[in-house]
């Protein structure tokens, strides 16, 4: 294994990337447009509707009068801790617990929570003190704040899969691999160079998109940049390895394109990039847990929105690294120059 040879191939692949102005623009502009587009689409607050989470039964005649208040959407909640987090992140305005000991949670920093609480009191005029008041605090989490980690992770996925998988198949088809094979460059050196080059590209583009969109949107970053970087790096390693596995023997760009789409689209839908899978089909949730993008999105979101530390996302990073090593071993064994 020669470092000199590996670095020479890394440099050649990097040149190919940054000198391709159209491709470079697309790689940076596309994710930025998606983030900004979602910020614009979801920027108008829904003035007429309050969202109140409810723990316990909400049906029948025994339901409190408050549950019949118009212009309030009542959303059943299963998990108390998760529901409290939603109040903290302003994803619901109030949480009402109708189980053994009636109580409610409100975020004292939320204007909408303040109004929802007054509406609750209004419906309880006979006994306003019957409900125990609990408070949570936390900065508001807009939809765009929630979606940014997903879009960044999704961009890492596309860049990793196509930047390695599709490129290697193109090299194989047009004869670049055949020419390289005629030199002392080994398959291991070539593959390692492709991985390093793509990790460099993915890291640079992610930093640029993060900084650029944050300057415009000011989304929260509560954890450490190092932890977030490790999450994206582990995700990129897993997905680059997946791209290598797909491209190990395929000779047709069309087939490679189809296979990469087959892999990436279900991940984009099931990995919670655009919407939470809470309340959806159990099987869909189980499949999602197997997908590398799910772990990258979840971990990135927890770091950025909840300030999770390295220990709290170590499981996701571990899963991604194990997947990366397994797929890399598989692809290195399956790889054919021709």
């Amino acid at each position: 294994m020669s470092l000199k040879r590996i670095l020479a191939v890394v440099a050649a692949r990097n040149r190919e990337f940054y000198r391709d102005k159209a491709g470079l623009g697309w790689n940076i502009v596309m994710p930025a447009i998606m983030v900004l587009g979602f910020a614009f689409i979801f920027s108008s607050p829904d003035e007429s509707l309050y969202k109140v989470g409810v723990l316990g039964s909400v049906t029948g005649d025994t339901a409190p009068a408050f549950l019949r208040t118009p212009h309030i959407q009542f959303i059943a909640q299963d998990d108390e801790a998760v529901a409290i987090d939603k109040v903290r992140h302003h994803r619901i305005d109030l949480l009402l617990d109708l189980r053994a000991m009636p109580r409610y949670w409100v975020n004292e920093l939320s204007a909408r929570g303040f109004v929802a609480e007054r509406l609750l009191w209004q419906s309880q005029t006979n006994a306003p003190q019957a409900l125990k008041r609990e408070t949570v605090s936390g900065r508001a989490v807009r939809y765009v704040d929630w979606v940014v980690p997903g879009v960044l992770a999704m961009n890492v996925m596309f860049s990793s899969l196509w930047g390695v998988g599709w490129v290697i198949v193109r090299y194989r088809k047009n004869g670049v691999l055949r020419r390289l094979r005629a030199t002392p460059l080994s398959a291991g050196e070539f593959l390692l160079a492709q991985i390093l080059s793509r990790l460099l590209v993915v890291s640079s583009v992610t930093v640029l998109v993060f900084a650029g969109t944050n300057a415009l949107l000011d989304f929260p970053m509560r954890g450490s940049y190092l932890t977030l970087g490790l999450v994206f790096l582990a995700g990129a390693i897993a997905l680059v390895s997946l791209g290598l596995t797909v491209s190990a023997r395929v000779r047709s760009e069309e087939l490679a394109d189809g296979l990469l789409n087959l892999i990436s689209w279900p991940m984009m839908i099931l990995s919670g990039v655009w919407f939470s899978l809470e309340g959806t089909n159990v099987w869909a949730q189980r499949i999602a847990e197997l997908l590398p993008l799910t772990h990258m999105v979840d971990a990135a979101r927890r770091v950025m929105l909840d300030g999770a530390g390295l220990r709290e996302v170590a499981f996701d990073i571990g899963i991604l690294m194990v997947l990366g090593v397994v797929l890399l071993t598989l692809s290195a064994r399956a790889f054919r120059w021709q």
Binding site: K4, A8, V9, A12, R15, E16, D20, R179, T183
Partner: protein
């Protein structure tokens, strides 16, 4: 000891025996040509010798020993069809390939030998056919190889570029390097090769120095008239035979052949007298032309 020794190579693809028991040796410092039409098996044979493709059976010895991992470092290869990574200049492409080898030829020598001086900063995608072949030759020589493989190096080039390329190969030969090339241009083989092997349907059907083979198979001259010039195409003059659309006499006595034609009152407007070429040799050996596939 020959530089390269090829013994009973066989390579089969589904439905076709591409190489069918090929034997030959290549002496150090010589230029050896594999001639044959498209699909004859010459590229497959070359790929086996380059180490790109494995043979089903047979063996290849380099300097008397089986090839090992170090073989790739001492050979240079110019493929018939190849692509380079996009978005790099000529200079960057040369540097990239040079970095793969422990032994490197000084860049200035390479640039001068292959006449690339004015092209160093040009994007490789913007090169003409001839310029591109010169770059690919330079890449094949980047490690100062002892043995150079050239697979149809001038196919697709215009006549002027082809002749320019021959001059480069002559330069490589003068440096004492061993060259093994495939071609279906007979003139190219005549100009460049010290020894040729004619290959057809995976087998070598004749082998030797070009002039020696021609002298062995043909008299001094070929007298040729189109069949349409004969008053009766069914009646050939004595000593003539049909090859392609022509009546051809291979003879040492041109006067006698002309007399035969005059006797039959053949119009001599389209008469051609030539010395035999390798194309004629191939036609004689196989019954079809070298450029027919």
């Amino acid at each position: 000891m020959p530089l390269l020794q090829v013994e009973n190579l066989v390579k089969t693809y589904p439905g076709v025996r591409a190489v069918d028991g090929v034997d030959f040796t290549v002496g150090e410092g010589s230029c050896f040509g594999l001639l044959g039409p498209n699909g004859a098996g010459k590229t497959t044979t070359l790929e086996i010798l380059e180490g790109i493709t494995g043979a089903d059976s047979g063996r290849v010895l380099y300097r008397g020993a089986p090839r090992d991992d170090s073989y790739r470092a001492v050979v240079g290869i110019q493929f018939q069809h190849t692509a380079l990574q996009d978005f790099q200049t000529v200079h960057e492409a040369l540097r990239l390939f040079a970095s793969f080898y422990p032994r490197q030829r000084p860049m200035s020598e390479l640039v001068e030998l292959c006449n690339l001086g004015e092209l160093l900063d040009r994007d490789t995608r913007a090169l003409s056919g001839g310029q591109r072949q010169r770059l690919l030759l330079a890449i094949a020589l980047v490690n100062d190889p002892d043995l150079v493989f050239l697979d149809e190096p001038t196919t697709g080039l215009d006549p002027q570029s082809r002749r320019n390329f021959w001059r480069l190969i002559e330069g490589v030969k003068q440096e004492g390097k061993t060259v093994l090339l495939t071609t279906h241009y007979m003139e190219e083989a005549s100009v460049l090769c010290d020894e040729i092997a004619v290959i057809d349907r995976g087998r070598i059907i004749e082998q030797g120095a070009p002039q020696h083979l021609l002298a062995q198979h043909f008299p001094r001259a070929l007298v040729r008239v189109p069949l349409s010039a004969l008053p009766d195409p069914g009646r050939l003059p004595p000593g003539f035979e049909v090859r392609g659309g022509d009546a051809v006499a291979a003879t040492d006595d041109i006067d006698q052949a002309l007399a035969q034609l005059r006797q039959l009152q053949v119009a001599l407007d389209e008469l051609a007298i030539s010395t035999p070429t390798l194309d004629d040799l191939f036609l004689k050996l196989t019954g079809h032309g070298l450029r027919e596939s």
